[in-house]
Symmetry: C2
Subunit: 316 residues, 2 copies
Amino acid sequence: MGQYIYGIDLGGTTVKMGLFDNEGNIIDKWEIVTRKEDNGSQILPDIAASVQDKNSEKNIAIEEIEGIGIGVPGPVTEDGRVLKCANLGWGVLSVTDELRRLTGISKARAGNDANVAALGEQWRGGGRGFDSIVMVTLGTGIGGGIIQNGKILTGSNGAAGEIGHIKVNFNETATCGCGGHGCLEQYSSATAIMRHARELVTVTEEESYLRQFETEKITGKEIFDGYKAGDNLAKQVVKRFAEYLGIGLSHVTAVVDTQAFVIGGGVSKNGQAVIDVIREEYEKNVTLFALKGKEFRLAELGNDAGMYGAVRMVME
Amino acid sequence: MGQYIYGIDLGGTTVKMGLFDNEGNIIDKWEIVTRKEDNGSQILPDIAASVQDKNSEKNIAIEEIEGIGIGVPGPVTEDGRVLKCANLGWGVLSVTDELRRLTGISKARAGNDANVAALGEQWRGGGRGFDSIVMVTLGTGIGGGIIQNGKILTGSNGAAGEIGHIKVNFNETATCGCGGHGCLEQYSSATAIMRHARELVTVTEEESYLRQFETEKITGKEIFDGYKAGDNLAKQVVKRFAEYLGIGLSHVTAVVDTQAFVIGGGVSKNGQAVIDVIREEYEKNVTLFALKGKEFRLAELGNDAGMYGAVRMVME
């Protein structure tokens, strides 16, 4: 087994790059810009060039490298093909073939970024000790990743775990980013709770902890601080957030019967209160004994989860 | 590899038993009664005795038997343990250990009956040619089984694929068999559509194809015959059936991104019309391109699916 593994997390604005040893300990990490011009054709060559620079800097020979793994912000099939990645301007592209060709590293693995981050958390983060987790990332949207027996559940088109687009409200008229109506991420993403809180502050006159902030500066932190302090508006916001998430996660577990949910993304930085309220609503929506009492954990690796998961894919 | 495999489908009233060759061709099949008295303690001994009788009849030596597989009507973990099976009166029980001990066959495999039937259909039935399917059995309740890359997705407590208990209606006051409210099987099982049709016939005065039958004799066949003939009441029944199923299956695919849905159980005997109306409603509820255009197939093995799947578990 080669001594080094590269773990890459390709995002829409930056590429997070990590050099790891073959036991998964991080040696170095850095970032490069994601150049999206020209249909994203420079992205993989930029990554390869950065890997080559690092090899030179650290005096690493190509045969000392076990492999390279990458998380990509779009569906990726089990054989490492992207079918479409609108964010990056990519159409069909074999990411693994290209990475092999460009870097000269013979073992390359690719996965969807949310799935790869889930693998990272299961291996080294909040999901440690469980074989099977569902990772839920509450950020701008809602990302999901499902790990079964230590492996990513990819799905036939690489779209397994897209739980942000489970439809939870059939009366919604506002349109989700996906074109649908009533998707989970319209209610329980960081964006959604900020929007909801700002709306309530604007359209109601009720006294609230939240009113001490400029409306546009109310974020998840202010909402959860208010919630913990017993503020009524904040409680309404958190209640709706958790109710829809409880419904969505009850659907997920009826399908995969996971051991644990790991909650990540910006919203999860508000700590145990987030877990507690989601768990409470989840339990209201499950009746089968085998689906009750699931574990809930906070994610631990933050922005590094993708790099760790990318490395783990190479080690499998 | 031994020459013979036993495939068993344990139901609440009868046990379907099959003797197969090691390529999965059926040699013989028969049934015995499921004796539930005494907390179901006679069930596995009865099965073992029936296996021994068959071995004598066919002159099969124990070392010629590759293994025995069984589907059980309750959650079964990956290591073959039942945690609870109210139907049979069982508490925690290692079905595989018991079968090995009672039959002397060293390789035993057990799974949940719906999951095992799904494996049978994927291997030899309507799911042939796909690696990953979701099987939906529309009977008294709704059973589900998920096959990923040719293997059963079991879940941590053996409850993966329990899609009949996905909550699809949040305004329901009637109670589901599981104790919940608004579960998919309250709308889309064979029982549910019969109940709905009988209600409509009773509480409305509208002319209908369905009125030529005694109310209590209206079953899925009459409903779908009426539907195909353009009858308005039958169309209402089928529409609600398919709407909820379309919602539920859209949740399922956002989680596992399957290749194909295989529809089985009594309702599926009404043929292509069943598939067409479910597909139409499913497509309304998915927006991500990777989840659109899934294949829908009718199950083909009927009551034998469980025996085939049980055999397949042994072959893996």
